[in-house]
Amino acid sequence: MSDERDFDPRFDPAFQRGYVAGNGTAPTQNPAGQGSEPTPQWTNPPQALDARARPDAPAMDAPASPAAPAAHPTPEPAVTLDGNPWVRVLWVIAPVFIIGGVVGQTWSQSRFMGGVTSSASDVLTSYVTPTIAQSICPWMILTGLAALVGVVFLHAVRWRRAE
């Protein structure tokens, strides 16, 4: 008794619609095997079936090699920060802003606490400039700290273990 139904040759007929176990059902691709056992091609372990069902799985008709490495996706090569000019700029402006902000803030406070002296240039150096410094220096410190945290974060993200 021959069965004209088509089974998908890629999968085991036992898991396809219309397969009846033990009644000699054979696929059309194997007409010489009437009444015989299914060929070993379809007696694959479940792991192989699962592997073939994945779209990214390697071709199963390739010769199996026990020394073949497992199929892992090739990682994207990481970008190193060596030679990044913008990181160097960040490394420069971070300490400049932090130190400049702290020095300017300290200087302005010392000028205000020192009192007003009597000379022609004191209007600018003892009152106007410290006022400007007190409005800019805190933001300079914050910006410098942000730059420092940002550049350290970049180095941490792009860090690779030495090989």
Partner: protein, 94 residues
């Protein structure tokens, strides 16, 4: 891809230059308007270059420092983005 951070960097430079200009104008205008000294005004008294005593009103920096601060923050943000988006050498090229 790095056009936006570069544009941000240019905008930051322009904002900082504008802030410095505004601040310089504010300081010049402040120094050019001394007040007569008064014992009841409560304002600081300074000695001018010709030896006379002058007083000045309370100095208000205006928007100059705010523009400089905004420009510096924008400059930091653009530099950080440029550093992140920079694609120079890959590890495999070593």
């Amino acid at each position: 891809m790095s056009r936006l951070p570069l544009a941000m960097l240019g905008a930051a430079a322009l904002i900082m230059i504008l802030g410095c200009a505004v601040l310089a104008y504010t300081v010049t205008d402040y120094l050019d308007s001394p007040l007569a000294i008064s014992s009841t005004a409560g304002l600081p008294v300074f000695q001018s270059s010709d030896g006379s005593l002058v007083s000045y009103d309370t100095f208000q920096p205006g928007v100059g420092p705010s523009l400089i601060t905004t420009g510096s923050l924008l400059m930091f943000a653009s530099l950080f983005l440029l550093a992140v988006l920079w694609r120079g050498r890959r590890v495999s090229d070593r």
